[in-house]
């Protein structure tokens, strides 16, 4: 249990460090890479919390998504490397105040909430994955199918919106 706590805390510190680094650099590519590192650390936290399937999924999915994000950054920006030191922020004080308030509220709920007894063990990875598969194909089938159709619609709509108009 102590090893698990240390692993979760260390990986969490990495996730927070790189999460903050996303908005501290003027280079868009570095921002994308920092977000990739933060998301990978979150995947590591999932593994440390014994959610193996979700951990591996998070690592694979986020690595792909951030690579795509970096490509779009280079496409959209005149200065993706941040050499011109462009400032791309506004209303910093308000944003900072909102972030701090939301964080404090969430921390207060976390530390003051009565969470009840904590489970000592979790099912092994194979049992979890099997249970998740059965859950997806039985009770949560409608949710799963709705999510699948929604993502398909989003993909088609995005391509339709983004495609160049023929004259």
């Amino acid at each position: 249990m102590i090893a698990q706590t240390v692993a979760v805390a260390l990986l969490g510190a990495v996730a927070v460090w790189f999460g903050a680094a996303v908005f501290r650099t003027s280079s868009m590519v570095r921002s994308a890479l920092s977000l990739l590192a933060s998301m990978a650390a979150i995947g590591g936290m999932f593994l440390a919390m014994e959610a193996e399937f979700l951990g591996v999924l998070q690592l694979m999915m986020m690595a792909t998504e951030m690579a795509i994000m970096a490509v779009f950054m280079v496409m959209y920006m005149m200065d993706p490397g941040g050499l011109g030191q462009m400032d791309m922020s506004h209303q910093k004080r308000l944003s900072l105040a909102s972030g701090v308030l939301a964080g404090l509220a969430a921390l207060a709920i976390a530390f003051l909430g009565g969470w009840g007894p904590v489970a000592a063990t979790a099912p092994d990875a194979a049992a979890q994955t099997r249970a998740l598969g059965i859950e997806m194909m039985t009770r949560s089938l409608l949710v799963f199918e709705t999510a699948a159709v929604t993502i398909l619609v989003a993909m088609i709509a995005s391509v339709a919106v983004a495609i160049a108009r023929r004259r």
Binding site: V8, A9, G12, A15, V16, G19, A20, V22, F23, M28, S31, A32, L35, S38, M45, F46, M49, E50, A51, L54, M61, E65, F72, M73, M75, Y76, M88, S89, Q91, K92, S95, L96, S98, G99, A102, G103, A106, L107, A110, F111, W115, V118, A119, T121, A122, P123, Q128, L132, E135, M136, S140, F144, T150, I151, A154, S158, A160, V161, A162, A164
Partner: protein, 102 residues
């Protein structure tokens, strides 16, 4: 209990950083990054709740899968809109998109 609290605290800090980023950035892709961090914080909380409160209930993991789907949809829609905006105006700076106000 300590591990649960550590995970919840990390989730809260990630959410706060994401909110700051989503509100303070003017570039569409950077705003999307802020939203991704907020959803990342939510996922950490969900996994922590599943692991330390009800590991026998797999619905907790199902909820995380749905949040991952939301992240993918957000990215697909965001990049679609970004590309359309870039084609029309040559920029994805949201400060230049004031005409989208209702």
């Amino acid at each position: 209990m300590t591990t649960l609290l550590v995970a919840l605290a990390i989730g809260a800090v990630l959410f706060a950083i994401g909110l700051y980023g989503a509100l303070s950035q003017t570039n569409l892709v950077m705003i999307m990054m802020g939203v991704e961090l907020m959803l990342g914080g939510a996922m950490v909380n969900l996994v922590a709740f599943w692991r330390f409160l009800h590991p026998e209930r797999i619905e907790g993991q199902m909820f995380v899968l749905i949040v991952m789907t939301v992240m993918a949809i957000e990215a697909a829609v965001g990049f679609g809109l970004g590309t359309a905006r870039f084609r029309a105006k040559g920029s994805v700076e949201m400060e230049e998109a004031a005409e989208l106000k209702g």
